[in-house]
Symmetry: C2
Subunit: 333 residues, 2 copies
């Protein structure tokens, strides 16, 4: 991909004030894209104005909810690319309030696609899906042919949202693809609590000098992508027509268990410790055991490989939150 | 299963005034169950009061919409069984009005399950799902391990609805299972148009002396279940705890292509003819080619096999509509 591929392109990012959206926005602005962010700034979700404080003069920020069909019908008009990242990400919240999860992760996606069908069939969409919909793996690493078996309401609704995108690609020719993200981490993630990623609350614990709490025996395997690698994948998927109608796993070759991950974080030298705690029963019910991805397909099709090592990524992340904690949890903005 | 298994049991049927719901209600009433039907009687869906005219004194009929959380929270209370058959069945309507399809086939299912979680965790649910969610088959016959690949909005939403049931079984222990129905036909099906099954409009054409219109080359293979066989499967699934958390295909060994099916209908002696017509483009976009099911799993687990031959079933069906046409299309009730 030409490094200025998005120069002059009109790009809409839903969830644009959130973790991945804001990092994507920064890269697009650097390439000279005309970027519009859509974000609801609902406090329990990922949006935070500080995430784009350094680039706010170089983009348009539109506070609205993807569940609002009128706002979406206007906002999709004239866009060349739509990175569709708005979502309810908490597995626990999806069980406690399944209807809100459905409205955001499924119904709003249909609203956005209908808006594109009526107002802008030329747009290219990239949807941020999740490895959550594979459920408890039958085999590892998990490739895109692995059976789909969501273990929580969030997984079911995210899957519906993903498939609406593929359907609109296949039936209406509105170019769309989906990336199934694994655990993504880095600057701008939500660290106030575990709603977006458990790594958020781990980073906060580390910086506050509290022990990192690892559920169960700590042997659960996971893979992680630093946010810059995730942004690379989004940009590649947007730029390539090979991706249209396809679903790609992201992932990492650096597979690690949660105890070792916690130890790695402690070893960064910012203090802290980790301790094993029993699985809360409501989490155990939706736990998936070991997980890591096979991301051969996106490597072959789009040339994507993750570049940032886990230790390096964690270091950058912890440094960021040490410097900026007041914008993420010390003051409730 | 004891032939009076449901005697004295309290049974709620959503979509109870529709095609399968009303046939199920009749069987349950004959066994001595206390049956309550829920139906919205929305004209474009399957509900028709005539479907239960012969048994209306022996059951309770509650006109309400499964999208109404307050009505559902009341109605699920005290029920032993919930046959969850309410649905938007038209593939074409799901594309034209995807939000209504989502509200009925996905969101309302979550409403019903939440009602059960809060008001009646002891109920057993049987959900009517569809073979539509397999999409265009990779192999035939299609078993339950076949990849899921919905080709229309209806398939995506039905799948979400199905999975919510399995999830509530697995996470909350609310016993639930799903049957993936193939083409079901028989007395009480909607024949006014093709919204429920193309066989409906074929029966109407035959009786009106109009040619049966077969799309494409007429070589598409399909399997069919007479409604009594489908009701058998529902009753068995409700009565068995082996079924909990499972999904079962229904199907038939009598596989036939659509031209031959039309010929069989014409050969019944009620007149008529059939003609091949080009696929309407909006139907071609969501067509799935050949389909028939492997139903070994439900045969092994629950002892279900379809008993009514296709010719016999068609004969009963056409006779029924010849006798009762004024209740189905001659007068718009």
């Amino acid at each position: 991909m030409n490094i200025n591929f998005y120069s002059g392109k009109r790009v809409l990012i839903t969830g644009g004030l959130g973790f991945i959206g804001s990092n994507l926005a920064r890269r697009l602005v650097e390439q000279g894209a005309e970027v519009t962010l859509v974000d609801s700034l609902i406090p329990v979700y990922g949006g935070n104005l500080f995430n784009v404080a350094d680039i706010k003069e170089r983009l348009t920020c539109n506070i609205s909810d993807v569940r609002d069909p009128h706002a979406m019908a206007y906002l999709v008009q004239g866009q060349d690319y739509l990175f569709n990242l708005a979502g309810q990400t908490s597995h626990m919240d999806s069980m406690a309030n399944p209807r809100a999860d459905l409205d955001i992760n499924a119904a709003a996606q249909l609203t956005i696609l209908e808006a594109c069908r009526k107002e802008n069939t030329g747009v290219k969409l990239v949807f941020a899906s999740t490895r959550q919909l594979y459920g408890k793996p039958d085999y590892l690493p998990v490739d895109e042919s692995h059976p789909i078996r969501p273990v929580d309401v969030n997984g079911i609704n995210k899957l519906a949202g993903e498939w609406y995108h593929l359907l609109y690609n296949n039936v209406y020719g509105i170019r769309a693809c989906a990336l199934r993200l694994t655990n993504t981490y880095g600057p701008a993630m939500r660290v106030k609590d575990a709603r977006q990623t458990f790594l958020g609350i781990w980073v906060r614990s580390l910086i506050e000098g509290n022990p990192i709490k690892v559920f169960g025996d700590g042997k659960q395997l996971r893979d992680f992508n630093y946010v810059d690698d995730c942004v690379d994948a989004l940009l590649l998927a947007g730029a390539s027509d090979v991706a249209n109608g396809k679903v790609y796993n992201l992932g990492s070759r650096e597979v690690i268990n949660l105890s070792d991950l916690a130890e790695m974080m402690v070893s960064l030298g910012y203090g802290g410790a980790h301790e094993l705690v029993a699985f809360p029963s409501e989490r155990k019910a939706i736990d998936i055991g070991d997980y890591y991805s096979d991301f051969t397909l996106i490597s072959d099709d789009l040339g994507w490989v993750p570049k940032v090592g886990l230790r390096e990524g964690l270091e950058k992340t912890v440094e960021y939150y040490k410097a900026n904690r007041q914008h993420y949890w010390d003051t409730e903005k």
